[in-house]
Amino acid sequence: MTDLPNGVGLAGAPGVLWDRRVRAYRAPASGYSALKRWLLAVGVRFEEISARPRSIKEAWSVVDLRAYQEAALSAWELAQRRGVIALPTGSGKTRLALAVMQRTQLSALCLVPTRVLLDQWSREVNAVYREAIGCYGDGVRRLAPITIATFEGAYRHMHEIGHRFDLLIVDEVHHFGGGLRDEALEMAIADARLGLTATPPRDTSAAACLSQLVGPTVFELTVGDLAGGFLASFDAITLYLDLSPEERSSYTNLSFIFKGVYTQFHRAVPGASWMDFSRHATRTPEGRRALIAWRQMRRVLSFTRAKRRAVRSLLERHRDSKVLVFTADNDTAYTIAREHLVMPLTCDISRQERADVLDRFRAGDLRTLVSARVLNEGLDVPDADVAVIVGGALGEREHVQRVGRLLRPGEGKRAVVYELVTRNTIEVGQARRRRQGLVTRSSGQL
């Protein structure tokens, strides 16, 4: 930067602060474009960060989109190439991202939550882009005009690579906005930003923060909007089950300990979140006892005798279908795997084995998989027909992702989702709340 005009000080530039540690001005990388505009407006000459190499036009194949994907892309373009697109699982969010990269030709950094998705995105990009792509994560550090990085890889290395891209694509963008790892997005200069999710955050502060980091939600469709057309239709069946007398007695005792503290807290701090409660509870012995009771209640409910019988019966009934069983925790997943000799997909199973398992599932060599969380998000699971939800802990978002696993359209396909819910327990409310995510909200908000 040279010859600052008289009366112009960098202290007035957007986002700029004086860093006394190094005696220089400093701004977050995400404010790069705004700062550039300001410098041009006040007539300061400056040297640009060297041009980012664009992807090679000839290397791209044409990426066709469905009508609603085109509409989503237009909404993003109209929003100055910044914003979140919310589409249900299985509706082709990755394809949309590929189209954005192909049509803009910008150097692009795609962030994905897990190493499994890193591989999956790399495969998808390679299918339509015939040049080498970069990778940051899983021990690899390789840069290219199109680079895929895990959230963790980006968090750790964005200070080295954040100036290399003009387009930032964030898969499962709802993970940001809560403060955790948000710096990864703030340390990138990319002005064009696209967030993808099936479940945009409903919490207003997270949504506002995400809007700052990536942009507002510019397009949203739910499972209800696409089911029966672009997505398979499905039947949701809730099986209400009872606890055995011993389970009921144990549950009631634990519930008494928990509710005593929880109700008191809620009376004192109406509208407080679970996080607030948990933070408060860890400070007192009674609070800690309440939290332990809460965890034990969940353990009692995770795989009750009635659920055990129901799982057996459902697996027998759908022996010839492709079935996904979702549990609340890994222990339950392994119990089911041992009892029914069905393959578990958990975080303990290596990536390579998981890929093999999904291939076998696709080929029909395996017809049932049981998982706690691995199948929840993003992973491209071959078309399944039946889901059995034995338990879950993460609410609406998790439920939408899980149901989405069944909705890849097929000729005459009608999927079935079974939810196992224990009567007169916290599961009744949980099940009611998580189903909200599947309700039609609005169509194509532009």
Partner: protein, 391 residues
Amino acid sequence: MLPDRLVNYSVAGTLVVPHFLAEHDHQWLRSLLEEHERFVGRPRRELDARLRDPLPCECPPGKLKLAIDVLTRLGRSRRNAAVIPPRRARALVFVEATRRPETGTAVLSKVATSLGVSVAELRDSLFADLPAEQLVSARGQSLSAVELALRSNLALVQRLLFHAAMLRITVEGNTRFLVRHAKWRGLICTLAERSGHEGASLEISGPFALFRNTRLYGRALGELIPLLGWCARFRLRADCVLDGRHVALELATGDPIFPASAPRQYDSRIEERFGREFRRLAPEWDLLREPEPIAADGTLIFPDFALQHRSDPARRWLLEIVGFWTPDYVAKKLASYRKARVPQLILCLDEARNCAEADIPPGVLVVKFRRRVDPLAVLRAIGSATQAVAH
């Protein structure tokens, strides 16, 4: 890294007080180590089940969980007791179970026969690679109760610092070691104030900390803690945000924390030899290895030695041995010293680096060396410079 739920601390005013494991914890730590030893070679789940029950002696539950976690991480192994590689066992059993509508036992029996093992062995192999099934390793055996306590305390402090954005450290001795590691991890070190010859007062934070309270550097800040064990004296204060509260963590020399392995005292043999020979040849001089750092234009420089005459405090020279040479490198180094206003500086330049006379900036006392810095040459150079000033 330790999960937050295992971090034991209390808050007194705005100070966070870590609940360190101390001498009075050694008895139950020894019991824990004995239990651990009994389970070496057995699946981890058996040890976990045993440790869910109380130890033979009384112990604080929070501290016990912390020590178990630290011990578990140290004793982690991938060894398992599978007769058939678990991945192979899973592939065979689950595919067979899909293919044949028979009972689980029939499927296991068929696969076991084809592999030439018993059903029990096959069943045990299925998930033998899961963390709970892996065998407890013997690594924990060599630990003493004292070391386990120190390691647990280090893990506790590092987890607390995971929530910190900046450290203020007043430190004496081995500062270069500390600053070098901090810079290598991308942190910014500034000298908060000159604190005479007693040490340095450092502020260490990450670049992004300017904009907001960030956890981005918490791990890197935590890595500095075991290095402090090698500083003669230190006092540390870290601003943390714990459970939404702004609190400060304070540590000082003598806190029971596991130290890093010993840093090298010298960067090169040339430095080591010079130190040894100078002390022998010049008993009237004190030779201080790694004097206090000097702030120069936003950066810190570390002279290799300070030479201090015992009877005349004004005769104090800083000495830098430059083994690496390019005109730019030396010019930059000298510019830093000039900005820091270091008047009495001796630069020892390696002749083998082909440094031309013209490249040496004026006004610097230069002693050239070849393979060895001659202490007598250094003393002669000091003598001539002192005489020149007197004239």
